[in-house]
Amino acid sequence: MTTHVLKIVITGGYATGKTQFVRSISDIEPVSTEQVLTATTERALKHETTVAMDFGSIAINDQITLHLFGTPGHERFDFMREHLLVGCLGYVVLVDSCRPAHLPQTQHLLFRSMELTEAPFVVAANRQDDPTALPLNYIRRRLGLPFNVPLVPCVATDRTTVRGVLLTLLKHIAARLTLHS
């Protein structure tokens, strides 16, 4: 039987929730490459970081499987993100809605990713479960995102919203395919 494997990449800045995103939706126990952080400033946010990738998988049916690759967020592993992005069908860029300081870094990451691949992407504003989270219109404005790039609310710890983000990405890919057929 033919198996169709679709490669989706989950990227974003440091500690934006990429590993959690993959963990929430994968139907296999995700393979993660977490390593303990040593620098105190970094440890203020979290204790472990992804050093190579997260890998998760979603079986759509017996013939189609989505493979999710979470990239590392740390700048020193940028090469890994760039490697993972090549050849993907589409990607999700996660942004932390509670850390405005990370917005310029995310904008840079968006530019860099668009240089590497023309694959369609959506931006997911994570941590929207926090009542102090920045609203989507502010995030869109700060990232300079045009309206044809979907920006969706996300709570990486909540499977339903993670599924919503992936659906938006798949619909975005389908719309592009339709446009060109």
């Binding site: 169709h4 490669k7 405005p100 310029p104 530019f111 590497l116 502010y138 300079g144 045009p146 309206f147």
Partner: protein, 253 residues
């Protein structure tokens, strides 16, 4: 759980705008070089504020004046915490956030510095911001602000506005920043939408064994073109109707 940063990453005027449009409730703590400030926010409205100095926490300013002073700070770490009990506090601030922002901008020697992350150049194209429905504004604009606003309505860049109004670039930039600070004006998106790739030719992986795009020896690292990647892919994979596969994913995820 809190919104955290420094005024250099997000100006107080932006914070006040966000509180207002998103009807936030909580307490904003600011830690400046010599002074500290607190602003209480209930359902988007600024209700009380104080600025203190030194270890003794000598009160320097309260209410509207405290907010105006904080609006002139360029550097301060901030943290905004959700706190529903703020709603029970008495309202001691008289003016709206927008009025305070405009007055704070007038007092600032160089308000452009407060929104430096927006990087306004003569080529920057501006447009009117979409105002949320709940916005009620009591602000009074100056003649020059109105003149600038009328040009922005037609989507001009800073350079053209200078030519049309006879004002120089620093003057127009300052007026634009004032209008941005109260949420009336925005910079047009700088990130150009991904140029439409030739998805028509995209055929994704279809093979007996799972193959990841990056495992296949076709990858031409110099090529960002999705259709090129997919074209080479066809040499190693049998063809499938990608749109059909994606549609099935959407229906069954």
């Amino acid at each position: 759980m809190a919104l955290e940063g420094n005024l250099q990453n997000m100006a107080l005027s932006d914070l006040i705008q966000v509180f207002h449009t998103d009807a936030k409730t909580g307490i904003l703590f600011l830690k400046g070089t010599h002074e500290r400030g607190v602003i209480y926010v209930a359902d988007g409205r600024l209700i009380d504020a104080v600025v203190v100095r030194g270890k003794e926490r000598t009160i320097v300013a309260t209410r509207d004046e405290a907010v105006l002073q904080m609006l002139t700070w360029e550097q301060a770490d901030f943290i905004f915490r959700y706190e529903p009990t703020v709603r029970k506090r008495p309202i001691r601030i008289v003016h709206s956030g927008q009025c305070l922002i405009l007055e704070g901008m007038r007092r600032h020697a160089d308000p452009v510095r407060t929104l430096s992350y927006y990087n306004i150049t003569p080529e920057t194209i501006l447009h009117l911001a979409a105002l949320p429905r709940n916005v009620r504004s009591g602000v009074r604009l100056s003649i020059d602000q109105w003149r600038i606003l009328s040009w922005i309505a037609s989507g001009q860049n800073v350079h053209t506005i200078c030519q049309a109004t006879g004002l120089d670039v620093p003057a127009v930039t300052r007026l634009v920043v004032e209008l941005m600070a109260i949420g009336l004006v925005e910079i047009a998106p700088c990130l150009s939408a991904a140029t439409e790739p030739a998805y028509r030719d995209c055929t994704m992986i279809a093979s007996a064994a799972p193959v990841y795009a990056h495992d296949v020896p076709y990858i031409n690292k110099n090529s960002r073109s999705f259709s090129n990647v997919c074209g080479t892919m066809r040499q190693v994979c049998s063809e499938i109707d990608l749109l059909d596969v994606i549609t099935r994913c959407i229906n069954q995820l």
